[in-house]
Amino acid sequence: MKPSLKLLDYSILQQCMHCGMCLPACPTYVATKKERHSPRGRISLMRAVADDELKLSPAFADEMSYCLGCLACETACPAGVDYSNLLETARAEVQSAGLNQTFTSRFWRTVTMRGLFMRPRLLRFAGRLLWLYQRLGLQTAFRKMGLTKLLPPDLRRLEPQCPTIATKFSPQLIRPVESPAKKSHRVALLTGCVQDLVFAELNRDTADVLLANGCEVHTPSVQPCCGSLHAHNGEAAAAKTLAKRMIDLFPPSQFDAIISNSGGCGNHLRHYGALLADDPVYAPLAKLWDTKLRDIHEWLLEYGCLAPRTGLGDLTVTYHDSCHLTHGQKVTQQPRDLLKLIPGLKLVELPEANWCCGSAGIYNITQPVQSEQLLVRKVGHVIGTGASVLATANPGCHLQIARGLRQAGSAITLVPPVTLLARAYRKEKSAESRTV
């Protein structure tokens, strides 16, 4: 059965009583002041489609794509409207109606959604090729020769953001099972897709922090994509397949917690229950899975996180909330609390910390103008704090803001909170080994 607004439980649409409390929280409404670009405006369009008052149209498709999906409206909504469910359904319907597709967009969708992100080994192979291209100096050569000008404009703009692929991927850094000296919990570590290719070190850091806090860490070397990219972009069937593969690989009954360290993936991962609700075999497993899924920051503080005794020197840090961590998963205070555990670290609050940076999955490719405006706004605030480090816990935000800071000529570095914590533990360890 194809997802459609008409078949959706109507009460989800009715839940929005259009009070307007979401308007000031919505980046696209604030930028344009047009109701159509607001959460309640989009919901009214979806309801019109469900009521047969509006036909699916390219303009409707455009609007669904113009939404960042940052879910700031869900945090703002007193009525508890399930906007992410509505948006995913609308996008899926637009997708299955084949609206608004150019040849190139179809090509990239097929390559990414149906190809790379369905096949983890293939994705790693592609990553390795990109690594080779970067390592052999071809990227530098291409840039110097001006060959990047041959790229289409949107990709040309983002080419500098093309992340440097890690020398080692997660399986080369983390053994399938690692045990702490004294074990209190058994957890699974999800290594992610982009995360694994670009930020594999963060996965190592996550494992280290878990080990330091008494967790036995299970990290199978080949893991499927969580399916969030598919669900957010209207590929519901693929999202379900991937969720099932994930549950098969990590039977939820075998772990105290299943750990995600990427804000965007985590928000999708903790809703497998709803995604697989109609599946007779997987529904109960998915329900159990949801209760086990934890964001790393949330998990560390659930039983009290060990405070490092050594700091990283005087360090002024500010923190950017990833949308899906704060608005989706409601994990807002924990990353800040973890940072405050590090001796000598001064945490300064970032103005509009929970305002989207414009990365938003593939938004920076599909909606470059709006994305760039949001990035400039974010970078201005970050520089204004006077911090030397920006901590954030989502690979998309990380790459986007890093590019923005580079463009602005800023020397501020980006480091995930977990990495800062892991570094502090390591420093403590090496200080101890010196004194022994």
């Binding site: 109507y10 009460s11 009715q14 839940q15 009583m17 259009h18 009070c19 307007g20 409390m21 308007l23 000031p24 002041k33 047009k34 109701e35 159509r36 607001s38 309640r40 405006g41 989009r42 009214s44 369009l45 019109a48 008052e53 509006l54 149209s57 303009a59 409707f60 609007e63 909504c77 007193p78 009525a79 508890g80």
Partner: protein, 461 residues
Amino acid sequence: MSTPDPAVLGRLREIVGAENVLTSPEDTIPYGFDGTAALKGPVGIVVLPGSTEEISEVVKLAAARGLAIVTRGSGTGLSGGSVPSEGCIILCLTRLDKILSVDDANLTVRAQCGVITAAIDAAVQKHGLFYPPDPGSMKISTIGGNVAENSGGLRGLKYGVTRDYVMGLEVVLPDGRIAHFGNACVKDVAGYSMKDLFIGSEGTLGIITEVLLKVLPRPAARRTMLASYDRMEDAAQTVSDIIAAKIIPCTLEFLDRMTIGCVEDYAKIGLPRDCEALLLMETDGHPAAVAEEAEQMLALARARGARDVRVARDDAEALQLASARRSAFAALARVRPTTILEDVTVPRDKLAEMVAFVAEVAKKHKLLVGTFGHMGDGNLHPTFLTDERNTEEMARVHEALEEIVTKTLALGGTITGEHGVGLAKKAWLRRQVGENSHDLMREIKRAWDPRNLLNPGKIFD
């Protein structure tokens, strides 16, 4: 729905720019409603002007063509005041969003109509000043809409409502002329107080384009307290005791059990779910006076049997409590698909009786109701939680509302304390104000706007 005349569209595009005239259904459907549940209308054209002059030109065009105009700001009204009528032009004023000046010497602020209410207070705060009216939607409502609806808020008891702060207005009249009323003088008795006619006129007499507002010195201290009760009557009696003790707090808000549960589901700030009433109290002013009044209020609450009484730790918690209260109306929407919000107001000493009556009526008609509101002003928001698609249940809701209105009027109250008449309450206006008063209102409207082009069908038919 009739298709817009191409000549009209062409002229509108000339006046405000093509990008500010919206006609496609994807652009216009989202302007078919305001903040009022279960009310919507057909939209043909939305125009987003950028200046008073552009508004004047649009109104002249509409007058020449006999087209109705429905004005809106952010569309957060709660009586259907900016719901479109058939064939109208929706005039959306959010682009006029500049604060023009803050005058320290005369304690005034001048702003365009589309400025967000909270932005006005934020701007004057930098000067040590204070704009008190704080409607629930202040983070997004526009000041022009506040004036047109004469909006209230949580501080009415001590600081009054929007009307008490309007010193001057710029208004586009039904024929497109631009008029100015009032000035920065504290005293001014030159002729009729025309600005007062426009305040609360709900877009039926003119289009408010600029406002001159009075502001106050910012209170140096503020204290927020929360008391919980096992009986609603005790909360209401506490309020009477506080007023009898010659204390005028800035805020005395209450929530009933149903509302507390919904607000807590949303805000998660640790409100007690097992009590029948919560009273949110706030006093502000000179630090010494605030400390003394707060002590007295706490003692009075305890003496009336408050189960638990506490003071907000700091400004952050105080803000959290007030924001939670502001979310009450929308938070109630969690329970059922449709939320019918009322705004009846009774003299303060009748409040306990009215709250009990609402509960009784809901029980009699087997309806779910959450009640909250401004206990210090006698302004109640009984909110029926229902489903607009269930006609049988909606019929019972209407019967219940009818009984509540009858009781309100019998107690000397009003059908609307702060939301306006709009579409939602026009059936009851005549009963409240009486035949002669109602006729006079309509005569003024007819004399002023004989072709009934400005927000037709609102307040009265």
